[in-house]
Symmetry: C2
Amino acid sequence: MNPQEIEKKSFEIITEIMQKEYPDIKIPQEQQSIVKRVIHTTADFEYLHTLCFCNDAVKRGKQALKKGISIVTDTQMVKSGINKKAVECLGSEVYCFMSDEYVAEQSKKQNTTRAFASMDKAAQMQKELIFAIGNAPTALIRLHELIQQNKIIPPALIIAVPVGFVNVVQSKELILSLDVPCIVAKGRKGGSNVAAAICNALLYEIIPNVL
Amino acid sequence: MNPQEIEKKSFEIITEIMQKEYPDIKIPQEQQSIVKRVIHTTADFEYLHTLCFCNDAVKRGKQALKKGISIVTDTQMVKSGINKKAVECLGSEVYCFMSDEYVAEQSKKQNTTRAFASMDKAAQMQKELIFAIGNAPTALIRLHELIQQNKIIPPALIIAVPVGFVNVVQSKELILSLDVPCIVAKGRKGGSNVAAAICNALLYEIIPNVL
């Protein structure tokens, strides 16, 4: 089997398991491809219970990508997991400022994390952006502050799926409290792979043949 | 809290949950840092049940890294997740051949996946290598063939943790059947993040201050 066939078969198996083992969970049509791609990436059906979509997240995210709005990630892993060809086709770009010298300096100076400082750097771009955060709760905490203080152009979409045990659950709740389109994995689970999978699911909805 | 403090706190929480909620699972001392780092990366305690260590995997993997043996990954995501500073300190390198032109050509010519062809490319290096496979069962299937047919220098360690629904479980069982040091996540779960976490756990055991 070639990769396309393997992927197609995988999605069939996922759909079958969802129907058989989770018949009571009804996922709205527009969220299906995202939820299934996250399960495809993790083999973890817990995301059926934890993925939340707020403020027209799917529609707004797709609209933004179609307009060529760029994506900011909090790890190089998220960046490398996003389909570059799809991003290029749309005239969009993927930025990760974690290795940026200015960000390293600022985080030292302010005694914060680089993820925190990298959100400030994104705010300085003064552009509408999509945020795909798969690792750092401090990125979400800073993003929440920047939005509340009107120090950033309101994001087109926040994908808030860090993983972990410290500040993770709380940082996601902060994002859910905002009036911003967001896709959030409630609880401890998530990760760079999950963040990239959500970006790709949105991209493939727009340009399916790029896969 | 700075990232080091957050990480330390996370590992304390993981250790506490393991003791309280899984008192019957005894992880050998040398495997602890790997198992905990995988849980740190996934927030998924199922790995307590599924991670297998065969043929002195931890000892052999650490010996290999100390000697500067290089790592071959099956995705750019695994490559970007591995701590570059640690790898450089040891005189090792991380290779991913998925975007290699020769690999793209060969996979087309032979109607295989690029992951399959990238294992052939690795075999052609004629060096002892560590393999960190977090995505492609076809990489493991080809690795198994190459080893059985003596067409590759026996790997120092195979990290076999692809995720998914097609051929994944079987490909991991193939690796477990070999007489080669391996760390395997049995079942469907795994991923690029898990593969990178296992590499990093080994690296940090050797040079803890690089974190």
